[in-house]
Every structure is written in C-alpha cells, then in structure tokens.
Amino acid sequence: MPASAREDRRPVLSRIDVIARGTWVLIGVLAGVYWVHQVLRGEAYERQAENNRLRRVPVTAPRGFILDRNGNVLAENEPSFTLLLYRRETKDLDASLRFVAELFNRSFDDLKRRVERDRSYYDFVPVVLQENLTISEVGAVQARSLEHPELVVQKTERRVYTQGAAAAHLLGHLGEATAEQVAARAKARPLDTNPPRPGEAIGQQGVESMYQELLAGVSGSRTYVIDSFGREVGESGHESPLPGNTLRLTIDLSLQKIAEDYFADKVGSVVALDPKTGEILALLSAPAYDPNFFTKRVSRSEWEDIVEDPDHPLNNRVLQNVYSPGSVWKPYMAYAILTHGIDPTERVFCQGGATFYGRFFRCHGRHGSVDLTTALQVSCDTYFYTMGKRLGIDAIAESAGLFGFGRPTGIDLAYEKSGIVPSPAWSLAARKHPWYIGETISVAIGQGPVLVTALQIARGMSGIANADGALPTPHLFHIGENVRTGERFVYRPESKESIPYPPGAHETIVEGLWRVVNMPGGTAYASRVPGLDLCGKTGSVQVVGQKEAKKGHLLPEKLRDHGWFASFAPKDDPKIVVVVFVEHGEHGATVAAPLAARLAEYWVAKSRGGKPELLAALAARPVGHARARAD
C-alpha cells in the first residue's frame, strides 16, 4: 500500500482519543438521565405504572328489600342481564350495531346515537346497549362471541316492585344518579365513604330516595389487572360489598290493595295512619304508575307520555297536591269555637244561608235550629259562617296552626307541600293586599284561600281522635333489619305537639263526628258499619260556581266537585285515621266515605285479632258507592 507509507496517522489517533472520551461522557450523561428517572423519581413512576395496570371496578351491593309491616315483599331484586359494548375491542362499529339491532329488533340509528352519546367517556368504559336480556337473547349473543368479542353480557341485579303500581308513590323508584345529585350528596355529606357514583342507580322518589343510604349497603370492588387494551387479564383482589338493610314499612299491604282496587277508575288519594304512633298504614295516590317502568331505560316518548298525562300520575297527591278542605275543615273550626268562649249548646237558625257584610252566604240545606254537634252532623254552613264571623280570622288561623296546618307534617317523604292557613298577615305578605273581612266567612267552611294536603287533614284528625290531643308525626319507616347480623332497629319520630282540650271539648267534637256516620241525618250515615263506631266528616269542594253546581252529576267530570272524607275509628281508643279524597268525586259522602269505612272496618277487625278468613272476605268484598246525600 503505497498510500500508507506517506500517511501521518497522528491526527487520526488524537481524533480517536477525542471520540473515545466523548463516548464515555455521553454514556455517563445518559446514565445520569436514567438515574434521575429510575432512582430519584422512581416511586412516582411506579404509582403511574400501578394506575395503568390496575382497574378498580365497583361492585354495587345488593339493595335491601322493602317489606310491608307484615313482611310482604314490596321491592326486591332479581338477576338481570345487560348487554355491553366495549368500544376498544370494536373493529367495525356499524357491523356490531347491525347485529344488535337485528337481534333485539331495534333501530340501528337509536343504537348509534347511544354509542355517540357516550363517546366522551374513556373508550374502555363499556356502553350499555340493552338491558333485561332474556335467556335466549343471552344465548344468541354468546353464540356469536367469537365474531363479536366487543359484545359482553353482564350479570347484574334489577329492582323489582312486586306489587306493581300499588305502592308506587310511597316506594318511589330507582334511577341513574345524575351528576348534580352526586355533587349535592357529596356536599351534604362530605365524609361519606360510600357516595353514589354517576350513572349508578339510586333512589329517586319515595322511600327509595329517603332511605337510600340504609337500603344501598356499601359497595365493594374488584381490582382487575388490565392490559393496554383495557382487557381484563387477571384479578388482583376484591372487597365484598355489604348488602343493604331490609326496610320494613308501616304500610299494611291489604289496606293498600283495598284502596288501590277502589281507585282503579278514580283520581285522588288515600292516607290511613295509626293516630297514636303516626305509622302510615296505607298511602295511595291515583292514578299511579308502575315503578318497574323506571328500572329499564325509558325512551323519550314513553317518558313524555307519563309526564304529559293530564292526571299527572307522577305526583303524590297525598302530600304534593293542595286542595280546599271544604267541610272536613269544620272539626278544626269546632275546636276554635270551643276554645274561644262560645257555648257549644248555643243554637243558630239555618234557613239555607245567611247574610254577612252585605253578601248572602248560602248553605246547602235548611237545617233549622242547630247547635255545634248537630252542625257537624249535618254539616251546616250557616252555623259555621256565624261562628266564624264571631271568632275572626286570627282565632281560626291559630286553631288551624295547632292542628298542624300551614306547615309540613314531617313525613319521611320528600317534596311535601305546606298548604296555606290564611290570615291578614299572610294576605299582606303573599297577596300584597289587606284581608277582606268577607273571606273569614268562606274560611269558616274550608273555602276561600285555605289550602291543605290530605296528609295534613289526616294528621289533624289524629289530634281529634286522640283523647289526649297528641299530634303524631306521620312516618313510613317501621323497622330496619341488618341482613347479616339480624340486628333490628326501630325509628319512631318523636312528636311533642298535642292539642290542649278544655274539659268537655274533645267529647263534643267526637260526638259530632260520630253522629255524622252513626245518626240518621248524618252526612255519611249511608256508610255506617255496625259495631265500628266510625267517626268522620264529609266534605265537597266546589270546582265551579253555584249555578252550574246545581246540575250535579250532569256536569262534565272535570267540573264536578271534589269529595273528601276524613275519619277515625273506633270512637273510643281509636286505631286508625283514614282520609280519602276523590277528585271530581262530587260528594265525599258518596264516593269517599264508603272506602274509608271499609279500610277502618278491616283494620279494626285486624287489630282486634280477626280471623284471616274473615279479613280476606272483608278485603275481597267490593266497595260500592253510597247513596247520594248533600253535605
């Protein structure tokens, strides 16, 4: 090689030295970078790697059953199958959805929209495509699992309301927790270790909502090892859920069903309670809806049907609708009369009405000379107009307040209305004009601006039924039972309220109410039951003016009066208070009293240890309408 002979290799050698040193420096720098990440920041990265690797999937606890007071199941759970779509494993979304659409006979676009709606979530969160699959549908999906690995059938639990619509309003229903509900609960209970998750089914109405924490139990979890596609490749641990507590309600299913049968073709409400404890024995609002409807995903049109129903089936009429009390107001007026120095034996002469402040106020009959008990028995308006004028609005409002009107009863259900007990102060605050003196006359017979709920009437009736005037807090919670330990806990809301009766006053009012049902001429005499000693007060509330009202049942239904009946039985040692309200029922005596009488009869028989056959026969006997009679 002639070239190499001339070559001076020294520059090359020194350059090699530069590169050799430079290489070690570079390696040192790189090692330093790895040192920083692996040694100095290693723990932080380890946590991130664990977060990558482990997925904690909450396992919803079995929800507690809801029973009636005798142990009949009102709400339970049943296994159900849900079809999920894992988007990460989906190769051809349209093909998957076409398969599902065909299998379930559903619209492809509908499914597509559902997937689109969930697009904002991480794609390893599955989309629920179909709930409540039948066994054959489960089989059909699983038969094609090789072709469609993205479709997974998940076993879940579904809430079942075994009595259908019978106890809809008091039970409520489950629904997906909205983001607002989650936030609101987190705010109200910041230390809750088991808060609801968005999308989890929680109680949305009724006792399901009120006793959500008690029924829900404590969620468990399963921790899965997942790969980068979100596929579960193993399980690294699990925490069992703690099942929810069984909730036994104060409701008696038989009473509830008698009421439901009766209201099958009517609109209105029923509430029955134990006047001593406030335990609600029956609570019904008609029309009802089937709470099972909400357990499946509700389509927009189904939802609109129920929301836009003119009878508002979602409303709980027992405590969310307010009405004029009409004549069922008179027992509370009687209390005001008895406690404001008026002699109950003083007589008023009724000739079909009287003139007050220059205006004629009509009575529905010509009752002649009536005292207080007779006025209650025949529901004489003239008597109460006269006494109302003498009492003045403030005395009326004060007595009404004692019986709990104008404020919530404190029942363990949400969205309870307060109603209105009118007074001059209320008029100025709410209506911005002074009280018209003539309104006092209307209020004296439960008309005018006074508004009440059926539940308030029932609670007030307890204060009349109880000789000591005790005014209980109505409630549905009877007994909670921990299903693991068998431990039972009872909650009975304390009520320190009671009505102070001057000597003889209680007996006078009860006597009047007893005569309503049990004396000829009483407005509910047609509904008397021998041996029951039912005491009550009928009422009807005018929907239209007097002239049209004369035509009675010839009016279109929407213009007919509402009918009330508020009652308790038996007269001494009362066991039950029943309030029945029938919208457009025309007369409380004809449509409301017969049901109240039957409920009271059933319950009193049961509490006296009646034979099951007898009770069954009583429950099965249809409740007819009573003969029409003016009240």
Binding site: M1, A3, S4, R6, E7, D8, R9, P11, V12, L13, R15, I16, I19, A20, T23, W24, L26, I27, L30, A31, V33, Y34, W35, H37, Q38, V39, R41, G42, E43, A44, Y45, E46, Q48, A49, E50, N52, R53, V225, I226, D227, S228, F229, V233
Partner: protein, 366 residues
Amino acid sequence: MSRLAEILPRRIDLRILFLALALTAIGIAMVVSTTAGTPRGDLAGKQILFAVLGLIAAGVLLAIDYRILLQYSPGLYGFTLLVLLLLPIFGKRIVGAKSWLKVGGGFQLQPSEFARISIALLLAWILENDDRALLRSRTIWALAAAIGVPVILVMLQPDLGVALTYLPFLLTALFFGGLPRRWWAILIVSGTLAVGGSWFLLKDYQKDRIRTFLDPNLAARGAGYQVRQARIAIGSGGIFGKGWKRGTQSRLGFLPVRHTDFIFAALAEEWGFAGVAIFLALYGFLIAQGLALARDARDRGGAMLVLLLILNIAAQALVNVAMNVGVMPTTGITLPFVSYGGSSLVATWCMVGLILSVAYRRYVNV
C-alpha cells in the same frame, strides 16, 4: 490444530466478540420477555436464528481480507443502489413503507440495513485514496454524494429511521478524514438550514413526534402516549427492576413497539437502573474496544472502516437509549444487537465481522 488454537485467540479480538455476544444474548432475553405468551411469541426463536445467521455472516467476512472488499466496494455500492432503486417496484409494503424484499419462508429482507455495510466500505475506500491531513474538496463532495444518494432513496421508501442511521457515516468520515475549518462552518450552517427546512417536508406524524418530544404530556392518549408510557416503564423499574418478564408496562402492552424501538425501556423496567448501568457499560467497552482496534489497524482504509462501523453502531445505540427516555425525538432507530429484527441483527453482526477482519489482519506480516 494446536498452532491454530494458539494463534486464534490472539488474532481474533475476543473482547469485541464476547461483548457483542453478551449484548446479543441480552437482546434475545429481552425479546423473549417482551413477546412470550403473546401472539408474537415466535419472535424469540427467530431472533436466535438471526443471531446464528449473523455469527455465520461475521465468520465469512472475517475469512475474507477486508482489502479485497475495499477494492470491490464501488461495485458493491453500485449493486446496493440498484437494489434500493428497484425496491419501490418489487418491495413488500410493511407498515406503510416499501422497505422489504421477500426471501421466502415467511422472512423478509430489509436491504437498507445491509446498505450500511457497502456504504461504509465505499467511504473507507474513498478516504484511503485521500490520505492528506485535510480532505480535498473533491473528496468531500464524493463522500457527501456517496451518503446522500442512499439517504434519499431510503427516505423515499419512506423509512426515516434507517436513513438517519446513515448520517453518522458522513460525520465520522469528515471528522477522521480531516475537514478544513471553512467546511465545518458550511456544514453547520447548511445542517441547521436543512433541519429547519425539513420541518416543512415532514409528514404530520413525524411533526407530532417532535412536538411530543418537546412536551410528552401534550396528549396522554394521543401522540405523546408512547413517550409517556416509555418513561413510566423506565421510571417504575427503580433501582433493581421488576424482574425478567415481570415488567407490567411491557407485559400488559402499555409500552409501544416494545420488542423493537422501545426494547431498552422494557429492559430498564425489568432490570432497573442496575441493569441499565451494566448494559451501558458493556456498550461503552464495546465502543472503546472498537476505537482501540481502529488505532491498531495496519492501514488507513482498515482504520477508517473500523471507525465508520463502530461509531455507526455507537451512534445508533446512544440515540436509541436517549430516545427511549425521551431526551431525543422518536425516530424509529433500533438498538443494535438488542432490538428484534433479522436484517438489523445480521447486518450488525456483518459489521462486527468486518471489524474482526481488520483486527485479525492488523499485523503486517500475516
């Protein structure tokens, strides 16, 4: 026989050989760890086969006098260019690049990997023919053209990663050939302009890689995902690692292209900083030994050939290690000896064979 046994260890550089074997063994272990139990579980067996093929190829090249190869280098180079030119016609498209030739039995050949050998031989031959202290302009242009043409051909495939592995050749050739100062200035200015200008030629995914290099948290699930997951893999390895086949990031698939480009992150996850340090030391000794052999080469052509080859391996390795930890943008450059890939492994072993060949003939009296 006894005489051969006596002289072989002295003449065959055992250090280079054993270091290269050690790195190859580590590579096979990591390919096993990153693919075992997956649908690609057959890759480890293939990698062993490639290592054997590589050793055979190295033995063949050791047996041939490198001076003969240098003399024939223009012809070899011409053949290489022809193959690269024809590749767009006969090539097989894999992940969007026509870089592959079918060779039967389900195997493909990546000519651009083997092109490195003929490029190195040609450059060594050019440098041997200009042995003055500083290179003539003519030589500089010849060097630039010798690299520029295959770079352009490979970029057209398009395979930016492999094209980039040709660039260390140019720098090595100019640095050791001796480049006048004004040329360094021209090189730096034009290099800067080329880098700046190339931004407009880059494809969107390539731009994304550069953006995410600058900010790995840019999009956890998007373009920055690879860089972020690789860093989590490396960092979570800690000092002693999670153990072989126990890397959660790589075994559960969070680590992207874990048996090729990001195999070092898998190593760092399973063997920790201790493994990284040992591995880098092995590589350091390999490079140092290669440089030492270049000093001892009997002629300028041999020295230049060894330098070109060892620094090409070194540059690839260091860029890959830097890329894994996110201090350089993701470019698709593999880790020599370790990353899965037949063409790459065999070509690298061919380079080892050439280095051994130069070392074997370092004494003039052979």
